[in-house]
Amino acid sequence: MATPSNGTPASTLAAVGDAVADINAETRDKYIKDEKVGEGTYAIVYRARIKATGEQVAIKKIKISSQQAGISMDSLREIKHLQELRHDNIVNLLDVFVGRSHNINAVLEFLAGDLEGIIKDGSVIYGTSDIKSWMAMSLRGLWWCHRNFVLHRDIKPNNLLYTVDGILKIADFGLARSFADPGSMNMTSQVVTRWYRPPELLYGAKSYSSAIDVFSLGIVFAELILRVPYLPGETDIQQMVVMANALGTPSEQNWPGVTSLPDYVIPNPDNILNEVTIPDLRRQFTSMSTSGLELLHGMIRLDPRNRITCRKALDSEWFSEEPLPTKPQDLPGKKGKEEQDKAGQDLKRRAGLDEGLGGEELDRGKKVARRLNFGM
């Protein structure tokens, strides 16, 4: 655990009264901000170092000064949940401090890239073992979220990042919420990026469960295999059509109660389909073994009650059968320490308007950084 304040007796060591401001200043001074690596509407991401050790970190600075506007919901959610979730496959929040102009800065572990970058990069070749490894790590991280009663609510390839050692980390908890109080009936359905949004949210459900994240991850699973987005709807309405054509038309038969959801419609009345079966999936995902198809099928069932849980998914035979999951350090797409330093230098040169090569690296660096942003 990298958080220095993580030691158990922290509360007894705590400073008194206005010394909180001193702790804040000390925390701030622990890090050296290097160059800006990305900027979005709400945040700027810097590459930074821990002064004492030189270890790389990322600092996400919220643009809005909290002095007037208070703490934005995105940063509140992200900080709230990341403070509690400590897991190998969840991005580690190292520190939070307030800058001199009252901006919140979140110090996160440094990440090298994301799955979207890998899926889209035609020069990266990967196979079943690699997908297994990414899926296993994603499921473990997600299992831990759910075990802690946290819904991520924005699982998608660019929120699944990896370290230089290839360890996958679930990031961006700006939409996360807790579901510790059972029976909450007033949850917003306006969450999860459209292509990964489960049918119950498309239908405006006000009460939902961890099955929403499982569905999103199932769609990521399909995308990792196909290397193109599996359900790319262009509008919310069209998303329902794309979903129903691929997975089946939601009906009382395959999903008891669905017709009473607020926004229920039959999206494809001219093409009503039964819910997709494992043999149906086999035709589309020809490279997959039966246990792999069973896992995929279990994750993308229409009725959330039929969907597999993360825990059960991790027990899938697919993970224990040949070919076995790739060891994280052997996964494609990662960057070695040296390469990364090079990328860093490229970034610096570009910042100084050097027209040298390395533009591709620069773009990728920017993209990675952007993924760290709140609410992009």
Binding site: D18, V20, I71
Partner: protein, 350 residues
């Protein structure tokens, strides 16, 4: 597994103490703040006029009752209420009323608890609802302290509430069907209202794990049912573990949740919220204790009076003008803010 999750939590890492470390922290906070205030006041100050640590504790606990009533007015539900109450208790571990008066933080704390628990962030609604009980605030006054509150809460917004555990125990006991349904339901309902009521005024959250407090809540209302349940959960051969657990549960229930003024004090000399220390422990404050709180409040006001002119006002002129305008309007209606806060009910008479 529960233990792993709990030990990772900020509740354990930053806000769990032994009785004596909790007491020392409170004493140190008071001493530091008093020293600082004496410096600020200069020659006009006298150390005897300072609030004592126990007076601070009484005052903060008194404002917990105000916050509790405020939550009822806002119809917050248990989660927001329990979180807001915990935020206020946690804040005053490391800051002192000598530095920031708790009444100025009640609305910002409640608003932050709403944001954290429900995602509700409409200031318009909030300001309007507060005004119904004559608490006048502006958007800026509500939001500006947020970052300071967060810093003082050590960026910890999640609170693990023991009342949540009751539902699980109830479901399990009902499925087992060994006890009459009515008894299970009645005892669990009583335990829940204890943990979302009087329990929020105790030091339990600082001293015990959420699971222990859940069980203590049950023990307090139905000891037999609670102990039977715990025995049934413990594998054979774990008698020592069971006995230890029972000891902790009974202690939490008897020494905190059920503590009475006339009980012997099990923590002599420690700064803990206990009725034996004259700290009121419930939403309903007895008249003489209310008088005591008003006295401490006046003392604090007098003490800080010389500084009033010097205090930097963070609000902008516009916000200040808005606030004053609203206040003037209220005063026309013969409402007096200070009186409202000085000890009377914050809920207006119907």
């Amino acid at each position: 597994m529960e233990d792993v999750i709990y030990r990772q939590s900020t509740q354990y890492r930053f806000f769990t103490f032994t009785p004596s470390s909790l007491s020392s922290l409170r004493a140190a906070t008071n001493a530091h703040a008093a020293q600082q205030l004496l410096l600020e006041l200069g020659s006009s100050a006298s150390p005897e006029l300072m609030l004592t640590p126990i007076e601070e504790l009484k005052l903060v606990t008194y404002y917990l009752t105000t916050l509790f009533a405020l939550c009822d007015h806002f119809k917050t539900g248990s989660a927001v209420k329990a979180t807001a109450m915990t935020f206020l208790s946690r804040l005053y571990l490391r800051i002192s009323p000598l530095q920031i008066h708790p009444k100025t933080l009640l609305l910002p704390i409640l608003f932050l608890a709403f944001k954290s628990e429900t995602g509700i962030q409409s200031t318009t609604w909030f300001i309007k609802t507060a005004a119904e009980v004559n608490l006048i605030t502006t958007k800026e006054e509500l939001l500006a302290p947020e970052i300071n509150i967060a810093m003082n809460l050590r960026w910890s917004f999640q609170v693990l509430h023991p009342y949540r555990g009751i539902e699980g125990v109830k479901a399990e006991l009902l499925v087992r069907g060994e006890l009459p349904k009515e008894r299970v339901e009645r005892s669990c309902a009583k335990a829940r209202s204890l943990l979302t009521g009087g329990g929020l005024f105790t030091d339990c959250y600082f001293l015990y794990t959420p699971g222990q407090i859940t069980m203590a809540g049950l023990w307090a209302v139905d000891a037999e049912m609670c102990e039977g349940y715990l025995r049934s959960k413990m594998p054979a051969g774990e008698e020592k573990v069971l006995e230890k657990l029972l000891r902790v549960v009974r202690e939490c229930a008897q020494w905190h949740l059920l503590a009475k003024t006339e009980d012997g004090n099990n923590y002599p000399g420690l700064l803990l919220r206990l009725p034996q220390n004259g700290v009121f422990m419930d939403a309903e404050v007895p008249a003489e204790l209310k008088k005591e709180a008003v006295r401490i409040d006046r003392k604090l006001q007098l003490l800080r009076k010389p500084l009033n002119g010097k205090v930097k006002h963070q609000a902008t002129d516009a916000a200040e003008e808005e606030r004053r305008a609203k206040k003037r309007k209220l005063e026309q209606d013969k409402m007096d803010l200070d009186d409202v806060f000085g000890g009377g009910s914050i809920i207006p008479k119907k």
